[in-house]
Amino acid sequence: MSENNVPPAAATQSVLRLFSIPGLAKLGVGPLIAGVILLAIVVVTLLSPWLAPHDPLEMQPMLRLKGPMPDYPLGTDPYGRDLYSRVLIGGRVSLFIGIGAAIVSVLIGLVIGLIAGFFRMMDTVIMRVMDSLMAIPSILLAIALVALNGPSITSVIMAITIPEIPRVVRLVRSVVLSAREEPYVEAAIALGSSMPKILFRHLMPNTMAPLIVQGTYIVASAILTEAILSFLGAGVSTEIPTWGNIMAEGRQYFRIKPELILWPGLMLSLCILSINLLGDAARDMLDPRLKKRGE
């Protein structure tokens, strides 16, 4: 076949190949679009202080519940605040909580999981503690923490992180348990390698691929949990706009002005959908066995 009569499908593939990330071309267009959308959301929310035309907290009693105007592209909310600015700024907190909760739970879970998997003595104790942590529902925990400490980003991250840690621990432990039986680990023991060296140089790299995948799912579910908590009034204080509490405030005015819920909801859905799609793509790329089965 000559080079210039490539079928259209192959043309897309070769465009993808330009990005020259191994495996990307095979995954197709879906994850690529998801990546572009997510990147756009992240860039826009990071730049929101400069992009937002108004202060998201500035109330204009004269401009309550207005429709789109040149100066207010998405209209205003019941207090006359600019909805566009609020959605942009609100994304910042949502993403921060999502990524923050994922990083904290992955880091803590990784350390505990490595210990549980490698030291037989600790295993039973750690895992039973994890089982009991897993039984705590994050919503109830958040309400309790907010009642104790008052509404804050830290309370929300803690509430999401604590029930998420046991899942990470289980994942890491299972990877370590199977990897420690590998002959190359036993060879390292025979070569006199110290315990930290075996743990961090030989065993930990095995956990990276599943953790990246798990991490993306935690980001998505944390953003969602944050939204639910804010919606219930158990999340971040209403002074800081998040997608969740913008929707909560718009709830009463849903009949008059559904955009109050539509825009933050759309951003939330797009964001979570793209993160989940990227997570699936990462899993396919990092676990060749699953990819094969899918074909």
Binding site: P183, A187, L191
Partner: protein, 553 residues
């Protein structure tokens, strides 16, 4: 040696493969996987297809079964005819029926070929259910009948058993029963005994022969083991890199191979005759094991299960520069002993003296100074090197742990690469870029880099092809000569043990049943178990390397 030398001139041809070409997709411009091979099997004949890994043996069998992986491999020329049926012209549905009724296949690993969640009796019955219209009671009668034919004990009980409740040999019998219940014309056996112990292997081989005689089945037997070939083959086809090198009746091939490759393959088969004894060693033994026991505890806090005594009162000495072989079947405790010596596990009691220090019960920290005197080479060369590390990084791990500078260690590693016969630039490459034999050389280099006194080789050549096996054994012997390393060689293969060991220790169910110089143990075994092991070794009365019967010099 008594070969099967039956005459098949009158018998009708069951399978005829002519000029079969199997290629990778056209985009890949490489040599075909099968390069125009031809093969004939007649009724009641056993044809052995031999060759090393990658020679195309299994692809041939998959092509016959119509099971070549789609889009990866395709038949691009030639023909496959099963008594007048052109198999390549059949539709997928027709092939499915042919696969059950006329061609059957048994595999290497019966545990993965059987469904773990169904009773084995039901699995055999399922074959009848989907391919015949027999009533239920007749089906059951046929299943019981075939299970009796494969000599399973207590058929009623085994009918109701799940695969994990049976031994490896019993599972393979179930597979054979399943394959033969519809009385196929052709049975394809792909390394059916490779995963089994020698004594079980012997039983399975004679079972296949018996059933073949009874039903007149043609058998295509794929194996890499020349000993097995000598036992069972009528005709042998030798393959190499997708080419059919040579085919001949068994006796002709073994006594007068025509092609260089066949000669090379036969010459690499280790002989069962023990090596020429080396002069007795001087000085105190390097490794002294006394009354070593390892008991795996039964149950936990609430459940009580009987303890497993994996090693019972094992004692032996090995002198500097000598090789001790620990021989036994699976479950004999040989690997437990090896892992105790390596202190990868702690023995329950007993002493292990390494250069006069008892290391049997030392803690992780206390062990560190002793570890460098004791190194290990594992069976599976694909898993014994960290796939994420370059070879160089793996090689210097040990020396750096004991205070050498990485630079110095790398220099030494480069020298070691040359000693084990690999190019110096291998250090910058990753394990997956090497073949199995090369990786095993790397693993040996890594062990030798520590300048150990004792090297434990746990089935170190079992996963390798015979020609590679011979090279690795030679390398070990060479290193021993140069560096005076003591080797503890764990193996299930008596031929390998005969090649390399000065002394042999035979284990059965955790106990040492016989221990002495290799010549005595293998030449004049005292214990019944040792004798049964030697008798079960396939092709034991043929001297493959010299193309003649043993004792016919």
């Amino acid at each position: 040696m008594l070969f099967k030398s039956r005459n098949f001139d009158e018998a009708k041809t069951v399978l005829r493969i002519e000029d079969l070409v199997v290629s990778l997709p056209p985009a890949a411009k490489v040599k075909p996987v099968l390069n125009g091979i031809s093969l004939n099997i007649r009724q009641g004949e056993t044809v052995c297809l031999v060759g090393e890994s990658g020679s195309g043996k299994s692809v041939t069998s998959l092509a016959v079964m119509g099971l070549l992986p789609k889009n990866a491999l395709m038949v691009t020329g030639g023909s496959i005819t099963l008594s007048d049926t052109d198999l390549l012209a059949q539709s997928a549905g027709a092939m499915q029926d042919i696969r059950a009724r006329r061609v059957a296949m048994i595999f290497q690993e019966p545990m993965t070929a059987l469904n773990p969640v169904l009773r084995v009796g039901d699995q055999i019955e399922e074959v009848l259910e989907s391919h015949t219209k027999l009533p239920a009671d007749e089906r059951r009668r046929r299943v019981i009948d075939i299970m009796e034919q494969v000599h399973l004990p207590d058929v009623e009980r085994i009918y109701r058993s799940y695969p994990h409740q049976l031994s490896g040999g019993q599972r393979q019998r179930i597979m054979i029963a399943m394959a033969l219940v519809l009385e196929p014309e052709l049975l394809i056996a792909d390394e059916p005994t490779t995963a089994l112990d020698v004594t079980t292997q012997k039983q399975i081989l004679s079972l296949i022969a018996e059933l073949q005689e009874k039903h007149g089945t043609a058998v295509l037997f794929i194996t890499h083991d020349m000993g097995v070939v000598a036992e069972i083959a009528d005709t042998v086809y030798v393959m190499n890199h997708g080419d059919m090198v040579e085919s001949a009746p068994i006796e002709t091939l073994l006594s007068n191979p025509q092609e260089d490759y066949s000669r090379k393959l036969l010459a690499a088969v280790p002989s069962l005759t023990p090596r020429v004894p080396r002069p007795a060693p001087e000085g105190a033994p390097v490794l002294k094991v006394r009354r070593l026991n390892k008991i795996y505890g039964g149950g936990g806090l609430f459940v009580r299960r009987p303890d497993t005594h994996a090693a019972k009162e094992v004692s032996f000495d090995v002198a500097r520069g000598r090789t001790l072989g620990i021989v036994g079947e699976s479950g004999s405790g040989k690997s437990t002993v090896a892992r105790c010596i390596m202190r990868l596990i702690e023995p329950t009691n007993g002493t292990i003296r390494l250069r006069d220090a008892n290391i049997a019960h030392l803690s992780r920290k206390e062990l560190k100074p002793h570890r460098k005197h004791l190194q290990v080479v594992f069976q599976d060369p694909f898993r014994s090197l960290n796939p994420r590390w370059t070879v160089g990084r793996s090689l210097i791990e040990g020396p750096v742990n004991y205070g050498q500078s990485p630079k110095q260690a790398l220099k030494r590693a480069a020298e070691l690469m040359e000693i084990v016969g690999l190019p110096r630039d291998s250090l910058d490459r990753y394990p997956h870029q090497f073949s199995g034999g090369q990786r095993q050389r790397i693993a040996i280099a890594r062990a030798v880099a520590m300048q150990p006194d004792v090297l434990v080789a746990d089935e170190a050549v079992s996963a390798l092809d015979v020609s590679v096996q011979a090279q690795v054994l030679e390398l070990l012997d060479d290193l021993q000569e140069k560096l005076g390393i003591t080797i503890v060689f764990i193996t299930h293969d008596l031929r390998v043990a005969a090649q390399i060991c000065d002394d042999v220790l035979v284990m059965q169910r955790g106990e040492v049943v016989e221990h002495g110089p290799a010549g005595e143990v293998l030449g004049n075994p005292q214990h019944a178990y040792t004798r049964s092991l030697i008798e079960a070794a396939p092709g034991r009365s043929w001297d493959f390397a010299n193309f003649r019967a043993l004792g016919a010099a």
